[in-house]
Symmetry: none
Subunit: 304 residues, 2 copies
DNA sequence: TAAAATTTGACAAAATATTGACATTGACTA
DNA sequence: TAGTCAATGTCAATATTTTGTCAAATTTTA
């Protein structure tokens, strides 16, 4: 299955040869002898790939239990020191909301370690895209609203931002598959100070084989265009949260669109983004309202 | 095993020759005669490497029990910081400078992956405190200067900030030892927008058994005091880079000092910090000019 | 029919191991 | 002062193993 290829970042040859030589992953077959990989198989292949990238020889690790592989990676990359801990799993729909709730409690307690533990739990128990879209996204929004209210202290907001940014930044790094795809710039334009949205975009792009470059918030049009050129980016993605009536932003975006080459697509996302679409040539810009949408769009563009 | 090379920072040649000549570490072998290192082997190699860097000859220490090696390194530590014109520190200083140079190249290429790789290399090759003080610190300063010059683009600065922050944030988390010590707040006061310095403080504190809370930049005195109270922090650390003549900052600091309980120490660090010492009661504030200094101070305070 | 998947055998590139040599360095000695 | 020598890291040459990729033949899918 070529789905496996896309999701693991391995070549089909490699997957088959690992199966043939080491029985690293032995998938089920259809009646017509096609391989059928489960999510667990995919996950295991990803772990194997990561471990081999860290220098382990495939011959040695191919037969390890998956749990040992996770342990191995944790030892190599001392970035995820959290041992999993069992917890009554909530109903799938409300599960994300529960995590958001718990995260907020940790923030209120100014407890960075607890917040991080919650995020780690959530990211394990949810699929990546769900985690980003249903935990990180709502959490950010909630923090923003409470902050507007005045019912969240600045220090609480700061702590949350610091922890979330490091966590998602790690996710991006960890989920980077090999550089098969083209470049993508993720940032926010002048006046937009919140860059977590752009970081989410970079993370999703990384898992899909793109080569994302995250440039943080508040970047002038010229800078964005320059970076896009230097990185030969085929996509520039901007996150625009608020306000919906920035008098400069419209022209800034128009200018950016003008600077970008014909072969570079502009993607806008974020709550306030629709307000600025009229400033742009509809043929040159794509508005995405969710990360799943982004995922689809990147998938459809990547082969061109 | 190539893993050994990556995790110890030694060359494969060195590892083999140490084995051949001194039996420093004799790993198990596979059927096909490949070396297989255990975690303990790796740890021992790391210790040996560190010890040889401190000037011990490998021939003398290669056969020592691992416990003695640890002892040896502990004994060396306090000696290292002292001699400023000593040769070892000169060589390692040069080594750090090389890393800084390479990091800058990666930044100029807008290559986040390369930058991160350099940081990882440097952090393996240098002791933690040196890495923070001689690589991260100078790199931040260099970036600041180039940015003032206008010879560093905003996008480059943003990228560097994002990568460095994630990297150091990870370090803090990873080096957190069990929470034996008291609480510490690391942040910057109103007007101070650069928070990497505070992050460094949190990292050093984490390694020393303190329980640091990093609150990001630009926090009003009331917020800082509130967070300190809530976290029962015994130390509040502020990083003050520039400018040295902020008209509000003096009174802000005085106010903060007033809010803090008698048992809470205020630590100031950063280039512009000395300018604001006159605003504070000398008995209630400590100025630290380097991370090593901070390390000493925390060590002397922690047992009280 | 064209594209994609499977199997098998083969091959080339990369990694590892072994051995011996070489250059540098610092200490000791004539 | 110059020379000797041991210690140490690096390198080259060669043999062996490991591993990713490819090509060809065949089957399945769209």
């Amino acid at each position: 299955m070529q789905v496996a290829v896309r999701r693991t970042g391995l070549t089909s040859h490699a997957i088959r040869v690992w199966e043939r030589r080491y029985q690293a992953v032995v998938p089920h077959r259809t009646d017509s002898n096609r391989r059928l990989y489960t999510d667990a198989d995919i996950q295991r292949l990803k772990l194997l790939r990561q471990a081999t990238k860290n220098g382990h020889s495939i011959g040695h690790i191919a037969q390890m239990p998956t749990a040992d592989l996770e342990e191995l990676l944790r030892a190599d990359e001392p970035i995820q020191p959290k041992p999993a801990e069992f917890r009554p799993s909530a109903t799938t729909g409300a599960e994300a909301a529960i995590y958001v709730e718990r995260c907020l409690s940790a923030i209120r307690a100014l407890n960075a370690a607890a917040l991080e533990e919650e995020l780690a739990q959530a990211s394990i128990s949810l699929s990546q895209i769900k985690f980003l879209e249903e935990v990180i996204g709502p959490l950010q929004q909630l923090i923003g609203e409470l902050w507007q209210d005045g019912s969240l202290r600045i220090s609480e907001e700061h702590l949350a931002t610091a922890v979330v940014r490091t966590f998602v930044g790690n996710m991006q790094r960890k989920s980077q598959v090999p550089p098969t795809g083209s470049g993508l710039i993720a940032t926010t334009p002048t006046g937009q100070l919140h860059d977590i949205g752009a970081l989410l975009v970079a993370t999703v792009a990384a898992t899909m084989g793109w080569r994302p470059t995250f440039l943080g918030p508040n970047l002038p049009a010229e800078e964005i265009a320059g970076a896009a050129r230097q990185n030969q980016a085929r996509v520039v993605s901007l996150s625009i949260i608020a306000p919906a009536d920035d008098p400069h932003l419209g022209s800034e975006l128009a200018r950016l669109s003008h600077y970008l080459g014909e072969d570079t697509t502009l993607i806008l996302g974020g709550r306030a983004a629709p307000a600025y679409l009229p400033f742009l040539d509809p043929a040159r810009v794509v508005y995405i309202e969710s990360l799943q949408n982004l995922q689809k769009h990147l998938a459809s563009t990547s082969n061109v």
